[in-house]
Each structure stands twice: as structure tokens, then as C-alpha cells.
């Protein structure tokens, strides 16, 4: 079985401050991990993914995420938040050793205040 959790429904950050959006997962084997962003009234856009290799993954718009196998986490981070980063963020995971489909988190609403 596989699952993914985004423990925060909403994260509020002041512009210019660092931001973190949390994601934890559970898979039997090795995970494929993804982050997507959804701006209001738009489709989801891919931000970054972890497949293998370096635990720190860099993606679009200055975002990065760190794969932590011992904590089964894949938190999304950005050193300095912009108001335009305000959106809904989805984490997704798939067990690389299975035929399971991609499992999506419930989403975290990120609000960046000026």
C-alpha cells in the first residue's frame, strides 16, 4: 500500500521569508515523489520530482525539496517567498516497485502576505 500526507491545510508566510510545505509518505519500496502547484482557476503544473540520486532536488520558480528517507518526508522549500507563490500545492507519490498509480496529497494552500 502507499499513501501521502500533507499535514497542513494552509501555510501563511510573510513575503521575503523562507517557506516550507510539508509532505510525508508511505510506500513499501522506493518512492517516486512529485510536487505540483495549482494557481487559482488553473490546471496543475509540475514543480519538481525525486526519482533517485541527490536528496536535494531543485525545480521551477526557485523551489526545492529535500528527500529524507529516514523521516519519509519530501518537504517543499523556498528561501525567499514571493506573493506570486500563493497557490495550492500538491505532493504525490508512487511506489517505484509496484504497479500502483500515483497517489495525491490533499493539497496545502500557501498564502504569502506582503
Amino acid at each position: 500500500a502507499q499513501s501521502v500526507a500533507q499535514p497542513e491545510d494552509q501555510v501563511n508566510v510573510a513575503e521575503g521569508n523562507p517557506l516550507t510545505v510539508k509532505c510525508t509518505y508511505s510506500v513499501s519500496g522506493n518512492p517516486y515523489l512529485f510536487w505540483y502547484v495549482q494557481y487559482p482557476n488553473r490546471g496543475l503544473q509540475f514543480l519538481l520530482k525525486y526519482i533517485t540520486g541527490d536528496n536535494l532536488v531543485k525545480g521551477s520558480y526557485g523551489f526545492e525539496a529535500e528527500f529524507n528517507k529516514s523521516q519519509t518526508s519530501f518537504h517543499l522549500k523556498k528561501p525567499s517567498a514571493l506573493v506570486s507563490d500563493s497557490a495550492l500545492y500538491f505532493c504525490a507519490v508512487r511506489d517505484s516497485g509496484s504497479n500502483y498509480q500515483l497517489i495525491w496529497g490533499a493539497g496545502t494552500k500557501l498564502i504569502i502576505k506582503p
Binding site: Y36, R42, G43, L44, L88, Q101, W104, G107
Partner: protein, 115 residues
């Protein structure tokens, strides 16, 4: 230059009607998907097609029927629409199979409102 397109963008209809949503991707991808996003923004996979073959068919009422005339198109037909079908429906595509590691590209969504 739109990668994944859907029509219509908005669809307002009465209960009991039949409607279709069309999706096209010009990325040359092998796999296409339909998702439903409810009012709480929860994303649920409905169907996945790989090279016109149905791969994933989640617990979806059989009133929903996907059709893939070719690799670049995956349409969604809904019979006897119900109030609970009101949602935003997203089409997506990816290279390779649904079980791979390739990211998905999403369309802009179709907001379906059933009155």
C-alpha cells in the same frame, strides 16, 4: 502552443442530461488521464489510458465513459448527470506509462455545474 487542451472550459447543465468533455494533447505522450477535483480541491484519478488502452479505471460510476479515438485524444462522456457530478475535471498526459516516473501535464480544467 497549448500542450493539453480541454473543451469546454465551463459546462452548465441540468440533472439527467448527457454531456461530453474533450481533451487533446500535442506533446506526443503515450498516457492520458482524467481527474476529478471536488469543491475541497481534493484530486481523484478517474481513468488512465496508455496508447488508447484503458489502464486505470477507478471506482467511478459507469455513467462515466472515457473514449480514446487516438493517442492524442481522451474524451469523457457522462450520462444522466447528477448534482454530485459538479466539479472541475482535469485532463492530463505523460510520457511513458502511468506507472513510470514522468511528470504529468495538466489541461486548464472543465468546470461542470449540474443544476
Amino acid at each position: 502552443d497549448t500542450a493539453v487542451s480541454q473543451t469546454p472550459k465551463y459546462l452548465v447543465t441540468q440533472m439527467g442530461n448527457d454531456k461530453s468533455i474533450k481533451c487533446e494533447q500535442n506533446l506526443g505522450h503515450d498516457t492520458m488521464y482524467w481527474y476529478k477535483q471536488d469543491s475541497k480541491k481534493f484530486l481523484k484519478i478517474m481513468f488512465s489510458y496508455n496508447n488508447k488502452e484503458l489502464i486505470i479505471n477507478e471506482t467511478v460510476p459507469n455513467r462515466f465513459s472515457p473514449k480514446s479515438p487516438d493517442k492524442a485524444h481522451l474524451n469523457l462522456h457522462i450520462n444522466s448527470l447528477e448534482l454530485g457530478d459538479s466539479a472541475v475535471y482535469f485532463c492530463a498526459s505523460s510520457q511513458g506509462t502511468a506507472q513510470g516516473w514522468n511528470e504529468q501535464f495538466f489541461g486548464p480544467g472543465t468546470r461542470l455545474t449540474v443544476l
